[in-house]
Structure formats: structure tokens, C-alpha cells
Amino acid sequence: MRTWDWSYTGHVLPDLLRGLLVTLEATALGSVLAFALGLVWALAFRAPTRWVRWPVGAVVEFVRNTPLLVQLFFLFYVLPTTGLTFSPLTTGVIGLGLHYSTYTAEVYRAGIDGVPPGQWEAATALSLPRRRTWTAVILPQAIRRVVPALGNYVIAMFKDTPMLAAITVLDMLKQAEEAGAESFRYTEPITVVGLLFVLIAYPTSLLMRALERRLGN
């Protein structure tokens, strides 16, 4: 049994923190993409024609029910063959954003369904155009009530970013792996990475819970 080596921990910490920045960057960009795409899917679910609803529904179902890791491999190996070459980080962000957009779509849908019918009727009575009904009446109310749920998916995505290590992104886990491969000591770097995840995810989830109570839904 070996003991914990503090000086080695101090030695790998800067690399891990650099990895943390990449992790946070991937989470932030992935969230933006997931929020935007999710809204697109949610609006497509309400499209007047089933020629839009059905294909979008099928794609969303498929993406949500298959592993993110395999989707990342798919993007990583297949995109370059179609002539699109992205950096591993960009590929990872696309993968994360696409995968989580299928969850945020359901969140938006729940939010939109939760807007009282009277709001739709009022918009009709005021003969607001369709676009304005969405942007000025429905979406502001729908999005407001789903903010905490969206926040929870940001945390979930944050915890899924280590998968990007599998497509060679230098995130926290990859940094820990490389440090371990160099010195044959995995214990310290991986433990620190695990603790950093808890240290960030737990307070954030408390914040989301408080927000949820505040918004009173």
C-alpha cells in the first residue's frame, strides 16, 4: 500500500487546472449550442405539418437514446471523411451540444405546454402575428419557468465532458491520464479531478435548487 504524495499532487495541479479551463469552456459552448438547438427542436415539435414533426421527433429520440460517447466517436471519425475538419474540442462541443439539445428540447416543450391557454387566446384576440405571439408572449413565460431545469442539464453536461478525453481533447481527465502515464501514479491526479467535479457540481446544483424554489414551480 502506497501513501498519498502531496508534493506530487502540487506538481500535477497546474496541469489539472489548465484541463479544468478546457472542461469549463466545453461546457459553456456546449450549453449555448444545446439551448439554441433545443429551442429549434421544441418549435419543430409544434410545427403545423407532420412532415416536420415526425422526422425531427425521430432524430431527437434516436440521439437521446444512444450513448454520447459513441456519438462523439462517430463525429470524430466520420466528419473528416466528409471534408469537414474540426479541432477535437470543436467536435466535442458539437457532440455535447447536439446530445443535450435533445434533453433541453423536452424541457422547452414542458415549458411551452405549461403556458396557460388563455395566453394563446389573448394573443389571438389581439391578432398578434404568429412570430410575435411566440417571441413576446409564449417564449418569455415558457423559458422563465424552465431555467432551473436547463441549469440542471448544464451540470449534467459538465459531468459528461470527461468523455471528450476519449477524442483526445486535453480536458481535466486527459491531463490526469497523461500525468499518470508519465509517473505511473494515477491515484493523486484522478482523485483531485473527482473532487474538483464534486466541488463545482454540488454548489451549482444547490444554486439551481434555490433558483427553482425562488421561481416557485
Binding site: N65, L69, A149, A166, R209
Partner: protein, 243 residues
């Protein structure tokens, strides 16, 4: 692709199914143990269970898997890759599942509990004969969601070198170089397994609800799965509200 390569994929699929079953069994046991412990009368039991749940919901399943595989030897244990994978998935999804159990038990009307007390049932009888039969049917849909998340999580085990479906695909890709086909095929395989799980769980739910004389609510159980973060059962991917 030759038959040998197809065989590799189907072997991988079989390992994926095994991994899913083992870790789901472990997660189920943990979910009930931790979920019930969080409703205990003793604060210390509640506290320990709560700390476990918050910790394992807070960390990343993949990092946990790495930790069990690479870092646990510090404590003098070396786990086989398959068990490190099973344990990591079981521990993290058990933590999510415990919130489902807790939410469903708390959703049983208080009057049921009071009636059981009035009939002088012991706490164990109360739980076994009155509370759980009514709580379990409510747990089935969120457990179904978690089971699919777990199935997706098994792909992580490929990083530890466990020969499951994603790992098999990697080998086939190296052999043939046909990335699009290989990954397309295994994505479809995962989807089929998830579909079978959803159907099976729906059947289970109908039977569980029928056994307590209820009809499943069609809007909640069919077609669209409600994402864990948005439902009001107290179940979240992370810290989804606790009502």
C-alpha cells in the same frame, strides 16, 4: 464487413447487456437502501445517506470509473475492469435512483401511513404491505429513464478496455476503416436495446398499476419520456428539485 467482424459486434452487444443488467441490479439495491435511509428517523442515517447521494450525483461517472480502476490500488485493491465498470455505474445510478425511491415514497398519501399505524402494523409491515405497493408503480417510469441512461453509460466502460459494444466497434473500425458504417450500426443497436427496455418497462408499469387498481396515465407513460430534470417526482439528473 465479414461475419467475423459482425460476431465481434454481437459479442460486444452481449457484454453491454450483461454490464447493464449487473449494474442495474446493483443500482437498484443501492437505490432502495439509500432512498429508505434518507427517510429514516435517525439523523445520522439520513446524513450518511444524503452525503453518499450528493457525492455520487456530483461526480462524473467516467471519472469515478477511472478512479476505481486506477486509483483504488492505493488502498491495496485491484479491481478487474469489468467490476470497476459495474461498481462505478451501480454507485452513481444508485444515487440517482435513491431520489426516485425517496420521491415515490413521500408521494404516498399520509393517510395511508396513519391508517397503517392505527391498525397497529409494525414499521416493517407498514412499509411492505402499505407504502411500497403504492410507491413502486410510481417509480417505474423514472426508473425506465434511468435504465436507459445506464445503458448509455455502459459505453464508458470501453475506455477501461472492457470488450463491450463500443469497444468492439473500435476494433472493427481499426480492422476495416469504415467508421460511418460501424458507428452507425452500433448506434442503431443501442437504440434497439433502449426501445426494448422502454417497451418492457411500460408493460411492467401497467401490471404494477393494475395490481393496486390504477390505470396508467397515458400522457406520462407513453410516447414522450419526460426528461429527468423537468419532472416533479424529485428526480433529476443532478439536483432536480426535491419536493
Amino acid at each position: 464487413m465479414t461475419t467475423g467482424l459482425w460476431e465481434l459486434l454481437f459479442k460486444g452487444l452481449w457484454v453491454t447487456v450483461q454490464l447493464t443488467v449487473f449494474s442495474a441490479a446493483l443500482a437498484g439495491v443501492i437505490a432502495f437502501a439509500a432512498g429508505l435511509a434518507r427517510l429514516s428517523r435517525f439523523w445520522i442515517v439520513r446524513f450518511v445517506a444524503g452525503a453518499y447521494v450528493e457525492f455520487f450525483r456530483g461526480t462524473s461517472a467516467l471519472v469515478l470509473m477511472f478512479w476505481l480502476f486506477f486509483a483504488l490500488p492505493l488502498l491495496g485493491w485491484q479491481l478487474a475492469a469489468l467490476w470497476a465498470g459495474t461498481l462505478a455505474l451501480g454507485l452513481s445510478y444508485g444515487a440517482y435512483g435513491s431520489e426516485v425511491v425517496r420521491g415515490a415514497i413521500r408521494a404516498v398519501p399520509v393517510a395511508q401511513r396513519e391508517a397503517a399505524i392505527a391498525l397497529s402494523f409494525t414499521p416493517w409491515q407498514r412499509m411492505r404491505l402499505v407504502i411500497l405497493p403504492q410507491a413502486v408503480p410510481e417509480m417505474v417510469p423514472p426508473f425506465c429513464n434511468l435504465l436507459i441512461e445506464l445503458l448509455k453509460g455502459t459505453a464508458l466502460a470501453s475506455i477501461l478496455g472492457i470488450g463491450e459494444l463500443a469497444f468492439g466497434a473500435q476494433l472493427v473500425r481499426l480492422a476495416t476503416g469504415q467508421s460511418a458504417e460501424v458507428y452507425g450500426i452500433i448506434l442503431a443497436m443501442y437504440f434497439v436495446v433502449a426501445f426494448v427496455i422502454t417497451r418492457g418497462m411500460r408493460l411492467l408499469e401497467r401490471r404494477a398499476k393494475a395490481s393496486v387498481g390504477r390505470v396508467p396515465r397515458p400522457d406520462l407513460t407513453s410516447a414522450k419520456r419526460v426528461p429527468p430534470g423537468a419532472v416533479d417526482t424529485g428526480v433529476g439528473t443532478v439536483g432536480g428539485g426535491s419536493r
